[in-house]
């Protein structure tokens, strides 16, 4: 068990170092960092002096070490475009993305699991077939198209919900939240549904197939034979066992929610990190790109690690094979 955890943490550090290396090479080799600091009249000596001061003449490995050291202290330098510290920019945008991701994950879970349970219990019913068809469409439609269609229906045609921006935010010092006002909730609905729809269909299909699988097992037959009520069998015995893979998938999907937030934030002009990253890609703002990359990679690795460890904690069978390996 201990060896398993250590190995997983070792892998996580390796992944992070790889991403840091990519991020560093972006920083160092794509475009010249000094270009942004000099004007046309800067002499060659001054340029060389700037390079020396920045440490660009040191061996690459030393520079990489310095880059990692700075990154650990959230120091990613200044944005090329706005001349503000990248850490501040990201800090401003972070709450918007996290609240959006959180809301859409909750939506995916609380809509996906009941739909999946129903479709798994009554696979032949009309509603279950409808769910299956809708989920196929949900998987095939690209995120941005779902967003556009939702805007078309709910904002343009019916005028029910705002179509862009994040309104009604309250500043709580380090965190600006939209959860405290009605306006904030209203502007959250469409982006959250857009972002969560794909995950919802995924969870629904997963719960459905797991439910159908579990319902065929012997212990369910035995539970029925003992005369337990269908409610107790379906929810106490069957659903409980389907939830283990659901935890894993949901956890892993949290990472892709953050990645797909780039698209949703663009469609709805949501002022989060994804929108900032995309603008950075368009203007080749390397410090923001590499900082975002590192941040997202850390989030991904952290989520994967937690899911792996949770899995071991929940399912004893994995613990045994982990020890054997």
């Amino acid at each position: 068990m201990f060896a398993f955890i250590l190995r997983r943490i070792g892998q996580a550090i390796l992944v992070l170092l790889t991403v840091a290396l990519i991020s560093f090479s972006l920083f160092r080799f794509v475009g010249d960092p000094t270009q942004q600091m000099v004007s046309q009249d800067t002499t060659l000596e001054e340029r060389l002096q700037i390079r020396k001061n920045l440490g660009l003449d040191d061996p690459v490995i030393v520079q990489f070490g310095r880059f990692v050291g700075k990154a650990l202290r959230f120091d990613f330098g200044l944005s090329y475009q706005t001349r503000q510290p990248v850490a501040t920019l990201i800090g401003d945008r972070f709450p918007a993305t996290i609240e959006l991701a959180f809301a859409s994950a909750l939506f995916a879970l609380f809509a996906g699991i009941p739909m999946g349970v129903y479709a798994g219990l009554k696979p032949q019913s009309l509603l279950a077939r409808l769910f299956q068809t809708v989920s196929l469409i949900g998987i095939s439609l690209p995120t941005f198209l779902i967003g556009i269609l939702l805007i078309f229906v709910f904002s343009v045609s019916f005028g029910l919900l705002p179509s862009f921006g994040r309104q009604g935010t309250v500043n709580l010092g380090y965190w600006t939240t939209g959860f405290l006002t009605i306006e904030g909730w209203r502007s959250l609905v469409l982006p959250a549904v857009t972002l969560g729809l794909f995950q919802m269909t995924l969870i629904m299909r997963l719960v459905r197939s797991e439910m159908m699988e579990v319902l065929r097992t012997d212990y369910i037959k035995f539970a029925k034979a003992r005369g337990l009520k269908p409610r107790a069998v379906n929810y106490g015995h069957a659903l409980k066992n389907t939830l283990i893979p659901v935890i894993t998938i949901t956890g892993l999907q949290l990472g892709s929610i953050i990645a797909f937030a780039i698209i949703t934030e663009t469609v709805f002009q949501w002022p989060g990190m994804g929108l900032m990253f995309l603008q950075a890609v368009q203007t080749v703002d390397i410090p923001i790109m590499s900082a975002y990359l590192l941040l997202v990679a850390s989030l991904f690795v952290l989520i994967n690690l937690i899911v792996d460890l949770l899995y071991v904690a929940v399912d004893p069978r994995i613990r045994i094979s982990g020890r054997a390996a």
Binding site: P142, S163, Q282
Partner: protein, 324 residues
């Protein structure tokens, strides 16, 4: 459907060849795959739609009612026309026009053509990289295998769209701001290719590890053939089957990825629009009531992807002996 080219060819071949190709066709019509195809009307519908869309993309020049790229033929007076069934609609522009008077239907036909080409080349590149690395990893094993597979693991941690976006962004930075349309096109193809190779590599590696211990590989080694010849002439044909299924499903994903990148503004430019670019441009007119400029390209994309997905799903089930 695989019969059509063979059928056409057989007209010029000898009678014996004709008989052989007839029997190939007969055995195909008798096969499980054809049977499961005819049993599922939804698959047949998906195949029909895919075929129609691909054919109309290939012959876009011939069937498009107008030329959306010829600036001289555009007339601002034709701008913002609704589809033909509305009161102001005209038959000249079946699906209406945008503000510059470009025919929406023609734009869709040409856009779909670009989307399909980028998707196809992207999948081709991804499959080539994945198959080659998978063959090498599975055949050689050892350090080479673990290095390739660790890279694959790291890449698999991240969603493909993020990787495509990153590669696209980096290459744009490297290429610089003075970039031509041709270059942007290949940047997209490479981003898609590099984002989707992992799945092929994993599958091919698995089956290569099984194949490499078989007698025909040992025999080939015994008569002194080189590793490359053995891998590509002997092992490859035996491991390439499952790749077909992945490629079909990936085609839908690649088209979505291209459309997403173009929608985000880091894909194809308005001068050479794909479906994604058309949706991005049309999106600006959504609020002025000209819904047809964005909804029709969007629907086309959705139908194309859905049809290919259905075909891929069917192919996966039909080729999977466990489900028969």
């Amino acid at each position: 459907m695989q019969i059509t080219p063979e059928d056409a060819m057989s007209a010029t071949l000898s009678t014996r060849e004709v008989q052989r190709s007839r029997s190939v066709m007969a055995s195909f019509l008798d096969s499980d795959i054809w049977y499961s195809f005819t049993r599922s009307w939804i698959t047949m519908l998906a195949a029909l739609i895919t075929l129609v869309l691909i054919v109309s993309a290939i012959f876009a020049h011939q069937i498009a009612p107008n030329d959306p790229f010829n600036l001289e033929s555009l007339n601002l007076l034709d701008g913002s026309k609704p589809p033909f069934w509305s009161a102001d609609g005209e038959w000249r522009f079946p699906l209406g026009t945008d503000q510059q008077g470009r025919c929406v239907l023609s734009s869709i036909l040409f856009g779909m053509r670009i989307s399909l080409i980028v998707g196809f080349l992207g999948v081709l590149l991804a499959a080539s990289i994945g198959i080659t690395l998978g063959l090498i990893a599975g055949y050689l094993g050892g350090t080479v295998d673990s290095v390739i597979m660790r890279i694959a693991d790291v890449q698999l941690t991240f969603p493909a769209i993020l990787i495509a976006l990153l590669i696209d962004g980096t290459m744009r930075a490297l290429v610089g701001t003075a970039r031509s349309e041709v270059l942007v096109f290949w940047v997209l193809v490479v981003s898609i290719g590099l984002s989707f190779w992992v799945q092929y590599a994993r599958t091919v590696r698995g089956s290569t590890m099984v194949e490499r211990n078989k007698e025909y590989v040992q025999a080939a080694r015994l008569i002194g053939l080189g590793n490359i010849t053995i891998l590509f002439r002997h092992v490859l044909p035996n491991v390439v089957g499952p790749v077909l299924v992945i490629a079909t499903i990936n085609m839908a994903l690649a088209i979505i990825t291209e459309a997403t990148l173009s929608f985000l503004g880091v894909g194809l430019p308005p001068t050479e629009p794909s479906l994604g670019t058309l949706i991005r441009l049309g999106n600006e007119f959504l609020f002025s009531g000209e819904w047809w400029v964005v909804i029709f390209p969007g629907l086309t994309l959705a139908i194309l992807v859905l049809a290919i997905n259905l075909l891929g799903d069917w192919l996966r089930d039909a080729l999977n002996p466990k489900l028969r």
